[in-house]
């Protein structure tokens, strides 16, 4: 009987987040913080289109640390931003954005 109890208890504990032993009531306090921003822009010639269209949703840093990618890959990335993430990119700027990425991050 006691062995059965042990098995039941073991199965229960394995299947659930553990009820906190000696649980003490937890208290929370309100939070107010500030997030830093980045003043980094895309450098070099031909960067106007990417600076004007892309920096409202994300800072430049992650783009500048991308590996060298093919023109097809960069084209797909820009179109993913437009189609999936609704980036309000001026259609006339798409070619210039892809061209900048291919020139600075192409292979």
């Amino acid at each position: 009987m006691s062995r059965t109890m042990f098995v039941v208890a073991f199965v229960f504990s394995a299947a659930c987040a553990h009820l906190a032993a000696n649980a003490v009531p937890f208290t929370l306090k309100s939070e107010s913080v500030n997030f830093p921003d980045s003043d980094k822009t895309f450098p070099g010639p031909g960067a106007d289109a990417i600076n004007n269209n892309c920096l409202s949703c994300h800072s430049a840093g992650m783009v500048l640390t991308q590996p060298a990618l093919s023109k097809d890959a960069w084209t797909a990335e820009v179109h993913k931003m437009i189609a999936n993430y609704k980036a309000p990119i001026d259609p006339n700027d798409v070619d210039a954005i892809v061209a900048y990425l291919v020139r600075t991050k192409g292979k």
């Binding site: 299947a15 659930c16 987040a17 553990h18 009820l19 906190a20 649980a23 009531p25 937890f26 208290t27 929370l28 306090k29 309100s30 939070e31 107010s32 913080v33 500030n34 997030f35 830093p36 921003d37 980045s38 003043d39 980094k40 822009t41 600076n51 004007n52 920096l55 409202s56 949703c57 994300h58 800072s59 840093g61 992650m62 500048l64 640390t65 991308q66 590996p67 060298a68 990618l69 890959a73 990335e77 999936n84 993430y85 609704k86 980036a87 309000p88």
Partner: protein
């Protein structure tokens, strides 16, 4: 807003920034310039390797800056050698959208539980804190952790191995929260939404769903604390979903809305984003097409050396202590083995304290490199379900689910 955050003013700032375009950037918030005194080189194939180390983010110590806005902050590798739990102030950070509340008032915040339920309930944080308290140690790992090591390289956050962390989570069972509303027969999924919002109004708000049985399994939690402290804002204060054994994309931060669905979720973030090839190890050949895609789900085993870096020198013909961390994914660590010959032969490592099957587990091993020369140290983990790390890397276009056996090249002298 009833959820008790100063979101509207922030949203206004974001909208204004959008209108101003690049010319307006930097003037509305703290600038990072000057805050980055040092850099770190990540060993990513083909580079670029250099990243700033930042201390500019609230409630965070030194972090690897992958992106400022929305924040992507990687845990420096040295942190993982210090203990089995990752300190809150160096726990990695990953947000999808830049409109993140900077203030949350615990007295007015509400958690809305609604949808295919008997009665909609609005829970205060006091209501949540009064429910039975549970705790669980679990690894939170980004789907794309280690993406920067994929070859050929793929676009995305170019993480090294530090987009993961392990914490002891304290909170309540999601099942108990759902029971307050009463799930109706016919429910199929539960969808979670946090307080973050897209910058562009018609862009898809970040939401994720779990199957109803998963959501009610007694393990999935709503956490209000990690490692004994309330969550840092950037890690999801005041409530974060904890989905043990599953990738972090499901661990929705700042959860304020739980919707029980009677139809499968067709929102972008569940149906389209974060999908993997339905193949073993989510592995495909670069360029392969016509592969069925499924939502990413459970994690797979991984293990790492934490006290020896690539290129380190160890003494020849003398014992050296090698140690690190391992985790089993969705089951516990069964064994960890160490190799000093690039994986030709293996020796079992000694496992540290078991903090639970979803936790990091520390391991250590005494190794002796017999003579001067070059050696390839490797470590591998097998989980309690019998799943072992592979000796060749997987590849997919999103850079998800890397878990190849890691190798560290060293010199003995």
């Amino acid at each position: 807003m009833s959820s008790g955050l100063e979101n509207d003013s922030h949203r206004h700032a974001m909208t204004r920034r959008y209108l101003l375009g690049a010319a307006g950037l930097g003037g509305l918030a703290l600038s990072l310039r000057g805050a980055c005194a040092e850099t770190i080189d990540l060993p990513l194939p083909g580079g670029p390797d250099e990243r700033d180390i930042t201390t500019a983010f609230p409630q965070k110590g030194a972090m690897i800056l992958q992106r400022t806005r929305p924040p992507l902050l990687e845990t420096p590798w040295s942190v993982f050698d210090k203990g089995v739990f990752t300190p809150n102030d160096q726990f990695y950070v990953r947000w999808h959208w830049a409109v993140i509340p900077t203030s949350v008032d615990i007295n007015t915040f509400k958690l809305n539980v609604h949808g295919h339920v008997n009665q909609t309930v609005l829970l205060s944080l006091q209501d949540v804190l009064a429910m039975p308290q549970v705790e669980l140690a679990a690894v939170n790992q980004c789907s794309g952790n280690s993406r920067g090591f994929f070859e050929p390289r793929v676009a995305g956050g170019e993480w090294a191995n530090g987009a993961m962390g392990n914490a002891k989570w304290t909170g309540v069972r999601l099942k108990d929260v759902l029971d307050r509303a009463g799930v109706k027969p016919g429910a199929v999924q539960v969808r979670f939404n946090g307080l973050d919002e897209p910058v562009v109004p018609d862009a898809p708000d970040f939401k994720k769903s779990l199957a109803i049985d998963h959501a009610r399994d007694g393990e999935v939690m709503l956490a209000y604390a990690m490692n004994g402290e309330q969550l840092p804002v950037l890690n999801g204060f005041p409530l974060r979903l904890v989905v043990p054994g599953w990738y972090a994309t499901y661990w929705v931060k700042m959860v304020s809305d739980i919707e029980v669905l009677d139809q499968p979720d067709d929102n972008y973030w569940t149906k389209t984003a974060y999908t993997i090839p339905d193949t073993p190890r989510a592995n495909v050949t670069p360029g392969q097409t016509g592969v069925k895609m499924i939502p990413i789900n459970r994690m797979v085993p991984r293990s790492f050396i934490t006290n020896v870096s690539a290129g380190a020198t160890l003494p020849a013909a003398k014992p050296s202590l090698v140690r690190g961390i391992a985790f089993g994914g969705d089951s516990g660590v069964a064994s960890v083995d160490v190799s000093t010959d690039g994986g030709k032969t293996w020796t079992p490592a000694q496992l540290g304290k078991d903090e639970g099957k979803y936790s990091f587990r520390q391991w250590q091993s005494q190794i002796t490199l017999p003579s001067a020369g070059k050696y390839s140290l490797a470590v591998r983990c097998k989980n309690a379900s019998g799943e072992a790390q592979p000796d060749t890397p997987n590849w997919n276009g999103s850079g998800f689910m890397r878990n190849v056996i890691e190798t560290t090249n060293v010199v003995a002298s």
